[in-house]
Amino acid sequence: MPERHVRVASGSGLHARPAALLVRAAGRAPVPVTIARTGGDPVDARSILAVLGLGACHGDEVVLAADGDGAQAVIDELAALLSRDLDVDPAGS
């Protein structure tokens, strides 16, 4: 099962706006995605409550995992999202 380790780049951690952006993106994905603190239990990345409950702060490492068609692409997309500072305007638009 494809998985990727990534550090949370957002200054405020995986809270509020960055968490909401991740959950929205995971909700659009064709396959279920999980997210976990390194060494912790994976939770549903489409659940805002579960993602907030990770309590991941700026610089913490998390693990994204998914299975099925397109899983790798989804994980890459979400990993890219988490490695940006989402408190700042995304994509500079």
């Binding site: 200054g11 805002i48 907030l52 409950g53 309590g55 500072d85 700042v88 638009s93």
Partner: protein, 558 residues
């Protein structure tokens, strides 16, 4: 003897009527039995949560700005698949429906609470989702402001912005809360609507629906089951007050004819529409943050100009003072990276944002220039958080380049007040923001209820700084005004005029009282009140000294 409760009077006036409490959140019924089929019950819960999410999104659409972002995030919680799965697991294990939802929510709340910080604040949002969904499941009234069908005294532990958004000033006679503080949300709202309010009244916890009370928003008392005599006295006083505070209207002035422009504070286009009906000389503080908060990107110049045009058109022929963007780490903008700040109030806020993002200020000034040219209002702009003469000069040059002829500086940093003459020499007018000036003078966080005594606008040290700015105004021929809570206290308004203020900007509901009280005192009397207040050892002494010099016939009504 009727029982008397005590709190903090934060919005003047008296009113009596029956209590109606803020809707209590519904609870799962005691002895609730499991529903017939877990799958069907899960469907009922999903349906209730979906309705909650939809109504939150609908409110988000109406709210705009920061409130909108919070409501949208809360809607996301209501649609959370993890929450639904947790409820389903409990239903499958034989839990009754409402209790299952309640327990699942509590489990998530416990997790969020254990994370602390910002996440602990989300617990209140999640509880709100739970309460609304339970009300739907159980067929109970929605928690929130009651609608008893007759005027009432609203009693609550505390009021959230979401509660007050739906408050009908025609129905609410007075507000009493157990929590809250003098600068809190409830106080600001009640003053704006001209409704008497008492906050920090722990005894209010015992008040039940229908109980008659007499609320004194000036003295901070709440009489339970008032007797006929007390009601007659209060009604007489209220009538006299209404009579006195329903003034001839027109421009503000002291008894001997010194003009003092009476202006109002607004923050949104809706505020502007409501305030336009108030007998006032214009807007003394138009806060423009509402246009930016909750936005992912800066609004374009045209979009801004449209909003400003709408506000300016409402005040055609009158003065309107616009404060440029006052964002900072306490009111963060998604498109400005403030980074982490240990002391947001001392960080990159107000005019300081332009150090890193000059484009934001330029865009705003361009939009203001376009809108001003297109409408007949007397538009003036001022910068928040000016600290040095150089900052004032820079802002003035920039604003004038965009065709804005009247440029001002907010005086809310002590450094600017201490060197007011040099700051004022660079601009056309100055406006003192007493709330922030108090916070910075006393090194006392405005959001700290425990420091309310230091933040009292009657503090003589604060009055000293206002006096310094007033003197600089006379020396340079630059008009000085006050926009801040201090301007809305009629007695303090006289003192501020005595210190040199020639415009006062307040919540719309306070203009009448300020006009009446000011009109009963001559300028020399105001100056005498100011001298006595500054000579006092503390805030209470300053107030007493000013009150001793005020006209009894007017102050007895306050």
């Amino acid at each position: 003897m009727p029982e008397e409760l005590h709190g903090l009077g934060v919005s003047p006036g008296t009113a009596s009527g029956p209590v109606a409490r803020l809707g209590l959140p519904p609870r799962p019924p005691a002895g609730e039995r499991p529903g017939p089929d877990p799958a069907v019950q899960a469907g009922r819960v999903a349906n209730a949560l979906e309705r909650v999410a939809a109504s939150l999104e609908e409110r988000a659409g109406r709210a705009g700005g920061e409130a909108s972002a919070v409501l949208e995030a809360t809607a996301m919680m209501a649609r959370d698949p993890g929450l639904l799965a947790a409820v389903r697991a409990r239903l499958d294990a034989g839990s009754p429906t409402a209790a299952g939802l309640d327990a699942a929510v509590e489990e998530f709340c416990a997790t969020l609470e254990s994370c602390g910080g910002h996440l602990a604040e989300r617990v209140a949002d999640l509880h709100d989702v739970r309460d609304r969904a339970l009300a739907i499941l159980l067929g109970e009234p929605m928690p929130g402001v009651p609608r008893p069908g007759h005027p009432f005294v609203l009693v609550a532990r505390d009021l959230a912005p979401a509660d007050t958004a739906t408050l009908d000033p025609g129905e609410v006679l007075a507000v009493v809360t157990e929590a809250g503080g003098p600068t809190g949300h409830t106080a600001v709202l009640a003053r704006g609507l001209g409704i008497p309010a008492v906050v920090r009244c722990p005894g209010a916890a015992g008040l039940v629906d229908g109980r008659p009370v007499l609320v004194d928003g000036t003295g901070g008392s709440v009489v339970v089951d008032p007797d006929g005599q007390a009601l007659v006295r209060a009604a007489d006083r209220a009538r006299a007050r209404a009579l006195a505070l329903d003034p001839a209207g027109g421009p503000g002035a002291t008894l001997d004819g010194t003009p003092v422009a009476l202006l109002v504070n607004i923050a949104t286009v809706d505020d502007a529409r409501r305030a336009a009906a108030v007998d006032c000389e214009g807007v003394g503080l138009f806060r423009t943050e509402g246009l930016y908060l909750g936005r992912r990107t800066a609004p374009g110049v045209e979009e801004q100009a449209d909003a400003y045009r709408e506000v300016f058109a409402t005040f055609a022929g009158r003065r309107i003072v616009v404060r440029t963007l006052d964002a900072g780490a306490d009111k963060p903008l998604a498109f400005v990276d403030h980074g982490h700040e240990e002391n947001p109030a001392l960080g990159v806020r107000g005019l300081r944002v332009a150090r890193h993002r000059p484009d934001l200020l330029e865009g705003q000034l361009r939009a203001l220039g376009l809108a001003a040219a297109a409408t007949g209002a007397d538009v003036r702009v001022m910068a928040p958080m000016v600290s040095t003469p150089a900052e004032a000069a820079h802002f003035a040059a920039l604003a004038r380049r965009h065709g804005l002829p009247a440029v001002g500086a907010m005086i809310e940093v002590p450094a600017a007040a201490l060197r007011a003459e040099r700051v004022l020499a660079e601009v056309d007018f100055a406006s003192i923001g007493t709330n922030d000036l108090g916070q910075y003078t006393f090194a006392a966080d405005r959001t700290q209820g425990d420091l309310a005594d230091l933040l009292d606008p009657w503090q003589p040290a604060l009055l000293d700084l206002v006096a310094a700015v007033g003197e600089a105004g006379s020396a340079t021929g630059t008009p000085v005004g006050v926009c801040g809570d201090a301007a809305g206290d009629p007695l303090l308004a006289c003192v501020l005029v005595g210190l040199g203020a020639r415009s006062l900007s307040t919540a719309p509901g306070l203009v009448g009282a300020v006009r009446t009280v000011l009109g009963a005192h001559t300028l020399p009397r105001c100056e005498e009140m100011a001298r006595s207040a500054r000579a006092a050892p503390d805030a209470a002494g300053a107030r007493a000294a000013a009150a001793a010099l005020a006209e009894d016939r007017v102050t007895s009504l306050l």
